[in-house]
């Protein structure tokens, strides 16, 4: 039994690395430094969303509002910027909007026991609708240079996007490993009764986790628009499933209680590499969707099988 768990964890590391090298040998330009940095830059959006999503999945929830927030938050800050407000203030407003919506999700789940998938779906739709309304369905663009720099510039040789991704990775890792809250989040996903017995408010944990996911989505949205120098009202659609896929590929268990931020970010990189490789091969983006959708279902199924197999084996009593 020890071997199988090691094999499982080892394979999560090994397969992507092998796949990566395999892709590199077959596809021209894949291993170019400029291409790889680009891959990380593009994966950073998914990665940042995945950081927030990991905690949501750990507490047995899901966040389907990412798509909406990825459009709405940058729309808010974008419009403010174009209206003459300072970059920092505008960005802060956009991020605040994301946090507020995330906290609202948390409130619905914690206080009204609404299933996470429905509340986040609804909030996603509302924010998507708002993103379309505030500017009559039109895109906005031509932002101040300093904002665009965040998405496309480099500091010390590394793209700013990558640095932000790393920042979020560090933040997520810190919370999980270095704070009591991290322990409480895992406990909520593992055995809620025990958590409550220790006097910890499950509602507070849910509130914070969903708020954090909203925060991540907001930042990712702002970063995306900085990269594109545009806010397109439906720019978030493509990233919703990829964020979930990143977590799943990174070994975050949909049944709750298990998952690590660095692995989720690795999952995001895997998806980024995969899409990049398929792009270089000329595979249609929509075919890529077919592949990724199937992969998700497969992984969830297999991890469920493994989980049930180990449960059955360790079941000693009736």
């Amino acid at each position: 039994m020890v071997f199988s768990s090691f094999a499982r964890r080892g394979s999560l590391f090994l397969l992507p690395i092998l796949g990566f090298l395999a892709l590199g040998s077959f596809i021209p330009h894949f291993l170019d430094v400029s291409n790889l940095l680009n891959v990380v830059r593009q994966s950073s959006i998914i990665g940042i969303c995945a950081v927030g999503m990991t905690y949501v999945i750990i507490i047995k929830g899901i966040d389907l509002s990412i798509a909406g927030l990825l459009a709405f938050c940058p729309m808010v800050s974008g419009l403010l910027m174009l209206a003459g407000f300072g970059i920092v203030a505008s960005m802060a407003a956009g991020v605040a909007a994301g946090i507020a919506l995330g906290l609202f999700n948390g409130l619905m789940v914690a206080r009204l026991a609404v299933p996470a998938f429905i509340t986040t779906l609804v909030v996603g739709q509302i924010s998507q609708g708002l993103a379309l309304i505030v500017n009559g369905g039109r895109s906005i663009g031509a932002f101040p240079a300093r904002y665009v720099f965040i998405g496309n510039g480099a500091l010390l040789g590394l793209p700013v996007s990558d640095l932000i991704l790393f920042l979020f990775l560090a933040m997520g890792y810190f919370i999980q490993r270095k704070t009591a809250l991290g322990n409480h989040i895992l406990a909520l996903g593992g055995n809620e009764t025990v958590l409550r017995q220790e006097g910890i408010s499950a509602a507070k944990v849910q509130f914070l986790v969903f708020g954090f996911s909203g925060f991540c989505a907001a930042v990712a949205g702002l970063l995306l628009s900085a990269q594109l120098d545009t806010v397109h009202p439906t720019q978030g659609d493509a990233y919703q499933l990829d964020a979930i896929a990143a977590c799943i590929i990174g070994g975050v268990d949909l049944a709750g209680g298990r998952g690590s931020i660095p692995m989720a970010v690795a999952g995001a990189l895997v998806i980024g590499c995969l899409r990049n490789a398929l792009d270089l091969l000329g595979v249609h983006p929509f075919m890529q969707n077919v592949v990724i959708g199937s992969v998700i279902i497969l992984i969830v199924f297999l991890s469920g099988v493994v989980r049930r197999r180990t449960e059955l084996a360790t079941r000693g009593t009736l």
Partner: protein, 512 residues
């Protein structure tokens, strides 16, 4: 070291009705003016049958539920415990049968959940690991505190729970059937630990049914029966027969109807069935017109056996033969159509569909009978409801009433009606009279007799010994996943005899 740690006086707990209010004006209570004390440096064993009240009494001591009457004193001071954490603050630790740990966290994180040590604002994992290791070492356990709890054996998880409880400086430790899933060697380790806690001045309450185990461990033994304290003895005066009589020696002042005759046709035959890979094979038969009882403690496997027979629980070996056919992999639907019926002990989630009416619940298992050409016929359904409401004396305004608003007893009758409507040939009943008033109980006993009389084979699980013995033609006694005795009705079949088997197993029946 004779200080009295715990003094419980006159503890009473009423049965609660469907409306959430306690039923006060009755003799039947969960606990009736029970006294219980615990001294420092003693192991006090608590025994009793199912439903005797041992768990409830300890839950009150553990702060999990409040008493409806009586007083609790800890070290001489009157205390009202608010909840389990409050009890813990007062030095009471409760080690439950179902362990209270997060399987996805490691030992240290479980032990310090909610009070994670901090250093400079950040969680101090090293301190946590060190303190956990210390606490475990104090119990002679050298587990690495970084081990995920899911990878620990039951015995190890139990030690972690005990260590966690000890870390709160407990003076009182309550253990509920702690040896249920342990090997002999693990039991020895646990007993060493308990002895050490005792010599450290702790008081331990030890709930168990395994006489052979606690004989060498306990200092005192108290017996509960039907919610009342029946007696307390020092272990030196312990005599199995006497204690069994205290546990089960109630007067049976009730006549149980027995007009049915056992037929010759074998309706149900279970051969070599193993509930888990580690439990012994079970053989069991039920004939036409026969009422076979299944006795044993909660957790001995009775319900699991019933569910395995009914196709809703996978089992690890052996087979089930119903009316001569091998039905091992049949679905419940198929078994129902072949005439098997199963009344579950959990009527709220497995017996009734809450949210539907009496009428809809009654017809659920036999929809074909009340339908014409695929459409449910209101007329047939209403006739069926009216018939059962009358026959079973279900108290309700109408058949359209939602079952959630019925009393427990009436709810049970609806479930019974549902199964009778399928005209079964084998009726499996799991605690059919639990939570029902005396009058309704008598009705159901009469009904069971009549059903058997009409040729139906009945397999009945019951924790009420008088009922079990009174109605059954034969009884199987289950213990820890296997059948350890088969007893025929007659003068030799007494409550004490059944309890004897439950407490002593096969290796110590006092009289043949």
């Amino acid at each position: 070291m004779n200080q009295t740690l715990v003094s419980m006086r006159g503890i009473t707990k009423y049965i609660y009705g469907a409306d959430g209010r306690p039923i006060r004006n009755t003799d039947v209570k969960i606990l009736d003016a029970v006294d219980f004390d615990l001294a420092a440096g003693e192991v006090h064993v608590l025994v009793g049958e199912n439903g005797a009240g041992k768990s409830t009494l300890m839950k009150i001591l553990g702060g999990i539920i409040p008493p409806d009457g009586g007083e609790l004193e800890l070290a001489g001071l009157r205390v009202d415990l608010r909840d389990a954490r409050d009890a813990r603050e007062h030095g009471i630790a409760f080690i439950h049968q179902e362990l209270n740990l997060c399987p996805n966290l490691d030992v240290a994180h479980n032990m310090f959940l909610g009070r994670e040590p901090r250093r400079r604002g950040v969680k101090d994992t090293r301190a946590m690991n060190e303190r956990s290791a210390e606490l475990l070492r104090a119990l002679s356990c050298d587990l690495d505190p970084r081990t995920p709890v899911a990878r620990l054996s039951t015995a190890q998880q139990q030690l972690v729970e005990i260590a966690k409880a000890m870390s709160f400086e407990s003076r009182v430790v309550i253990m509920d059937e702690p040896t249920a899933s342990l090997t002999k060697r693990e039991i020895d380790v646990l007993f060493d630990l308990i002895r050490r806690m005792r010599s450290d001045g702790l008081g331990i309450v030890y709930i168990s049914h395994r006489f052979e185990e606690f004989l060498g461990l306990g200092d005192r033994i108290s017996v509960l029966r039907d919610g009342r304290s029946v007696g307390s003895l020092p272990m030196s005066q312990f005599e199995p027969a006497a204690v069994i009589r205290m546990m089960a020696g109630r007067a049976i002042d009730q006549m149980y109807p027995r007009t049915h005759a056992v037929g010759a046709e074998r309706v149900l035959e279970v051969k070599g069935l193993r509930l888990t890979p580690r439990t012994p094979p079970i053989d069991l038969t039920v004939n036409r017109g026969e009422v076979v009882g299944l006795g044993g403690l909660v957790g001995s496997g009775r319900t699991e056996l019933a569910k395995s027979i009914f196709g809703v629980r996978p089992f690890s070996g052996g087979e089930v033969r119903y009316l001569g056919r091998r039905t091992t992999s049949w679905s419940p639907g198929r078994l129902i159509r072949a005439g098997m019926a199963f009344l579950s002990e959990d009527r709220k989630t497995e017996g009734l569909v809450l949210g539907m009416s009496i009428r809809e619940n009654l017809s659920l298992a036999c929809l074909k009978l009340v339908s014409r050409m695929g459409l449910v016929s209101r007329g047939l359904e209403q006739a069926q409801s009216a018939a059962f409401i009358e026959q079973l004396n279900i108290v309700a305004r109408s058949a359209e009433q939602q079952v959630t608003t019925l009393s427990g007893g009436n709810q049970q009758k609806v479930v019974l009606g549902k199964w009778l409507a399928t005209t079964p040939r084998l009726l499996i009943l799991d605690e059919p009279t639990r939570g029902i008033d005396v009058g309704a109980k008598a009705q159901i006993h009469k009904l069971i007799d009549e059903i058997a009389g009409s040729g139906v084979a009945v397999l009945m699980i019951s924790s009420e010994l008088p009922e079990l013995i009174g109605i059954s033609d034969r009884i199987y006694v289950m213990r820890e996943g296997g059948v350890i005795a088969e007893l025929a009705a007659g003068p030799g079949l007494t409550q004490e005899k059944v309890v004897e088997y439950i407490c002593l197993g096969t290796a110590g029946a006092l009289t043949q």
